[in-house]
Symmetry: C2
DNA sequence: TCGCTCTTTATTGTATACAATCTACATGAG
DNA sequence: CTCATGTAGATTGTATACAATAAAGAGCGA
């Protein structure tokens, strides 16, 4: 038959476990400091401990959890310094991404940027079911915006590296979207970045992106 | 007994496997593109497949090998674009490290920098058993130099991230040390960086470090 | 009560067995 | 000769058993 086994490279359960575990930690379902008991996770995910251990090794390598020999895995905790360090790095890396993107961005990607920027702006007037859903939506749109730029930078290593810097639990990432004032500032930065990218102005794109992220950092730090 | 089990946190064999595997790949013992058969590694390392798989998942997460479901692990190959991307990232990250270090560096660390810089200079006149041993020594000293700066930046995330960018097989990293001319240029950069750091001049430290790395990239690209 | 040792229990680390999947090669039809 | 098909062997993915270690608590003497 023609389509008998076209699939090839069927996904593997340990990969699924990795993705899920990662998502759940970021979403806050496993709080920082919480122990991750292999047997418990195995039961919950409906697999044996083997793929769980595989996944734990990976998230540990990524930095989201720490593994202590013979004592198990614990979700990483974030203190003030950790967050500062993470945002510093993010500013450098995404600044670089923006600068690279300025000369490599396609028309389609620019259009996508405009679209998400508009979506974020319009949400200022929109009605939401509840605050939580609203913030979730904003964080998601914002993520699309930033991802688009990173992808346009066309540096695979960068794209692989960044997630491990961004892997900060949601609870820390949402502060930028709580007040209308901060939203307006974010929108301003997004628009400025788009303009710089349209003009192919790498240096401007870099500094705007960096300032955008530093602002995010400062807002977060004030809320602690 | 007093000292019966003070040890605590005894290292675990899968960690040892990870370290060794990583070293061997970087050293070129497993060439890019080579398959890493679990059973073979297990026999060679004297352990079962379980810790091998654990270690493979980690080096894969780090990017040194790629794992294809049901087809196994293959040492990552590097084409020209990969190398350019890696060096671009390295320039950004180590530039950042140098800038941070400029305001945080202790006297002891500065002394260590001077020492390794001197060691690299003196090697110009020194006699070595063979070229290979010589280059190995230079690469090692150079690594100490760069590590010292990264550590002085006091950003743990940065220190964790960088190795995955630096993880380029040795065969690619040694070109900077083949000609006396390149060694002199490297020495010049090292000295300039030290001066900037001593003066606490973050911007200068950053740009010198970036140029240092870009030079390394260009030399490497020419040799391909 | 405090501090010590010993035991018990929970959990991790490793080895091994088996199932699932891929690869290579042989076979045969056109 | 070329291409498809089937089969054998190699290799990976998962489950499970067991060993090793750490954490918590019981018992006991001072």
């Amino acid at each position: 038959m023609s389509d008998s086994k076209v699939a090839l490279d069927e996904p593997v359960s340990s990969d699924a476990v990795y993705e899920r575990l990662r998502r759940e930690i970021i979403a806050g379902r496993h709080a920082p400091g919480a122990r991750l008991i292999e047997e418990r996770l195995a039961q919950e995910y409906g697999v044996s401990r083997t793929p769980i251990r595989q996944a734990l090794a990976r998230v540990a390598q990524e930095g989201l959890v720490r593994i202590f020999p013979h004592r198990g895995a614990v979700v990483r905790t974030f203190d003030r310094d950790d967050l500062v360090a993470a945002y510093d790095l993010r500013a450098v890396l995404e600044g670089f991404a923006a600068a690279q993107a300025a000369t490599r961005m396609g028309a389609l990607q620019l259009a996508l940027l405009e679209e998400t920027a508009r979506a974020l702006e319009e949400s200022l007037q929109a009605q939401f079911l509840n605050r939580e859903a609203e913030v979730l939506y904003l964080v998601e749109q914002n993520q699309i915006f930033h991802n688009t730029i990173v992808n346009a930078a066309a540096n695979e290593r960068l794209a692989v590296l960044l997630p491990s810097v961004l892997d900060v639990p949601m609870q820390f990432r949402s502060f930028n979207w709580y007040t209308p004032e901060e939203r307006r500032i974010s929108n301003f930065f997004h628009r400025s970045i788009i303009t710089a990218l349209q003009q192919g102005d790498a240096e401007r794109a870099r500094s705007m992106m960096q300032e955008h992220i530093y602002r995010g950092r400062d807002v977060l730090l004030e809320s602690l």
